[in-house]
């Protein structure tokens, strides 16, 4: 049973009618195949048109959908032979950021990403995908190791943000994020990052400072959550839809701004409606990106990364208003 989002209500109603019709026809012996087909087609068209024009706030809901595939789903559907590696060797093991060796269609890679969890128990275990300093320090350790063994780094970003807590601050959350960003930029091997759900602020950047940054079609990436921005700038979290609109958080907007390089298509109705199709599209996109980078030297790769970030937003400098 799929859980419908608020804006999918018309689709949900149609689906409910289809179920009712099916149930009532059972035993009646009336042939309703044609009618069912008609309604199914109508429902599919409605879903398609709804998803073709999602607002930034609606996309935020899709990106956070509880059934949306997360890191551990992709570990099995996109990659093979995942060997999880744990610990930052300083303090602990953070289950909000996972990583390890993996294969992607035969290519050996270092896979790192946020895991949000999918039910109460796993959400608590993975701290809702909110990394702590030890998580980012584990990512740094794995990135450095990837560099030594010539393994390209693939990251899957999906976090509302790094964890805001007393202990996280005490252990240097800011420093861990900054160093993780730095570790990305220093990599002598290719790095491909994909925002698969939420790309929340510094906690996302720390795993996304790559030469190629991809986004799933309905993922979002932003400096602060729409709710956070709304409560600061509009003084009420209820203005989150406006904030999402104003901040330009969608893959489509970010592609236009030159912040991301490629949009990975999702099936009609979002990644959660067909995780397998999503996984195939993701595997293909990441694979193509890795192949395109495979001949480059460490120097070239670092240069690409540096130029990429130094160049963002410096397209057309305009005269400053005074």
């Amino acid at each position: 049973m799929i859980s419908y989002l608020e804006f999918e209500k018309p689709v949900a109603e149609l689906q409910a009618r289809i179920s009712e019709l099916r149930a009532s026809a059972e035993g009646d012996g009336i042939d309703i195949t044609a009618e069912l087909q008609r309604l199914e087609r109508k429902s599919q068209d409605l879903l398609k048109s709804t998803y073709a024009s999602l607002s930034p706030w609606q996309k935020t809901q899709v990106a956070r959908h509880p059934a949306r595939p997360h890191f551990l789903d992709y570990v099995n559907s996109v990659f093979e032979d995942f060997v999880p590696l744990g610990g930052d060797r300083h303090y602990g093991e953070d289950q909000a950021i996972l990583g390890g060796f993996a294969r992607l269609g035969g290519r050996k890679v270092m896979l790192i990403g946020h895991e949000k969890g999918h039910d109460t128990q796993t959400r608590l275990k993975h701290n809702f995908g909110m990394g702590k300093p030890e998580g980012y320090r584990k990512a740094i350790r794995l990135m450095e190791m990837a560099g030594r063994f010539g393994l390209p780094v693939v990251t899957l970003v999906d976090t509302s943000g790094a964890f805001p807590g007393i202990e996280a601050e005490e252990r240097g959350q800011a420093e861990a994020i900054a160093r993780s960003t730095e570790a990305c930029l220093a990599l002598p091997v290719p790095m491909v990052a994909t925002i698969v759900g939420e790309g929340g602020s510094g906690g996302a950047v720390a795993l996304a400072s790559a030469e190629r940054v991809l986004m799933l079609e309905h993922a979002i990436y932003s400096v602060i959550s729409p709710e956070g921005s709304a409560s600061i700038l509009w003084r009420t979290a209820e203005k989150a839809p406006q904030a999402a609109e104003a901040m330009k958080v969608t893959a489509q907007d970010l592609h236009q701004l030159g912040v991301i390089d490629r949009i990975v298509p999702e099936p009609v109705g979002g990644a959660h409606r067909d995780p397998q199709v999503t996984a195939e599209a993701l595997a293909q996109a990441i694979g193509e990106e890795l192949d395109a980078l495979s001949g480059k030297t460490a120097r070239q790769l670092r240069r690409m990364r540096e130029d990429r970030f130094l160049g963002i937003g410096v397209g057309q400098p305009r005269r400053r208003l005074r």
Binding site: I166, E169, A178, S201, S222, L233, E306, L310, V314, R320
Partner: protein, 282 residues
Amino acid sequence: MSWLTRVRNSLPFAPRRETPDNLWVKCPSCNEMLFTKEYEDNLSVCPRCNYHGRIGADARLNQLMDEGYELLPAPEVQEDPLKFRDSKRYTERLKQARAKNPHPDAFTAAVGTIVGQKAVVGVQDFMFMGGSMGMAVGAAFVAGAERALEEKCGFIVVTAAGGARMQEGILSLMQMPRATVMTRRLREAGLPYIVVLTDPTTGGVTASYAMLGDVHIAEPGALIGFAGQRVIQETIREQLPDGFQRAEYLHAHGMVDMVVPRRDLRTTLSTLLGYMQPAKAA
């Protein structure tokens, strides 16, 4: 009652610099009324309670650098790239901030010397839209680092910011890796990068260039952290410990090398620069 107390008591309960003729300022920490001149002569530090007041870029540069430093031109950047509007247009907020500030944005850099030691000094000004990091701040940081690379001298950055400039959305977030590209280049060139953390330094600024220095100096009492205290409290629903996210607390937790009072900053920086000379190539 002395005439001083009398005058003091007759003054309205006002924030600093709003008293007649700006003769008096009130310390935001201990509420003591101070002679403006006395306060400023004391580098905007309260002589009663040692509160380190927030100061603008020019005051900071004047305090740290030898006379005759050269301001770097503010880089031209795309203005209001997102055409952002909340309750007010972003362009309107920029105009208002500029009307009250001698500089066009929140990061001003200069090249010169500190007690004879050559350095580029970048200063973030909290009074300009909370020091927030947008494209202009990022570009000025990059330009400052580039100048240090050219001059083969150290880069000193005095941070102060509530975080990223939300009105520039993702482009403000992109300043984190952008600045980090430059701190890496400085390190590769063997040049010192020193961060002076002042009140407040939080959010994306802390989580990028403010925490990547070779040496971290914090001013006494400065609020320094990643997450805002309100956000932390709402998340964990616990009382925050005394002195949480203050300079001394960060020092105790190993995040800054030293807490240095403002009056000693200049000599401390000069001493550090003296030790941190580029190593001779082997």
